[in-house]
Symmetry: C2
């Protein structure tokens, strides 16, 4: 059992779009990620995904609208819903989803990150 | 699908030790709670529990040590581990745990809160 300081953990890496696991809650993983630029359109067929903005701001594009999220705001993207995260300036996020979820969901490619990296 | 501003949701209630659900992630619930004073010793036999401090500071007493948590810090209390949260001054937290978990775990009593209250 460990106390986790989110800013301390975020200071340990600088690359974008590569979620790092900081803790597990049963079979769920708590991940931190820094993002900047545009991600790919994708969905996760089997699971919802939680986005909580820690610092900065981001948008999540959906097929019929775009949601803006600032620090202290969160959203759960339901399973099967296509979405494209993006951030003009660097944004620091917490993600929560079950163990084993791949960042690009059904859209494996250049932005697919190694999937079980802890910091 | 809804954007959730944590401070806006926290402004909707003032009572202590009564977690409010703000969102679900599959069969997990994201809850906000305000605490002040001492809770009861308890455990949750079947599930881990995530504490993330949003504002203020708190301690979690364990049988062999005490952990202090400030804003931006989190801890996952493993299932079956006895713990007693406390806060000298009001502290605002996010809790994440599976749907249906009772706040006082095995120690039902005065501080047991109604279990499915959304805000």
């Amino acid at each position: 059992m460990e106390k986790i300081n989110l800013q301390d953990k975020l200071s340990l890496f600088s690359e974008h779009w590569t979620p790092k696991i900081v803790e597990e809650l049963n079979d769920y993983q708590i991940k931190l990620v820094k993002i900047q630029g545009e991600f790919v359109w994708h969905d996760h067929a089997d699971t919802d995904e939680l986005f909580l903005v820690i610092e900065g701001s981001m948008e999540i594009e959906f097929e019929d609208h775009t949601m803006s999220l600032e620090a202290g705001e969160m959203c759960v993207v339901p399973k099967g819903v296509r979405h494209k995260p993006r951030a003009e300036n660097e944004c620091k996020l917490m993600l929560i989803e079950p163990r084993g979820v791949v960042n690009t969901g059904d859209a494996e490619g250049e932005l697919t990150a190694e999937n079980d990296v802890w910091i």
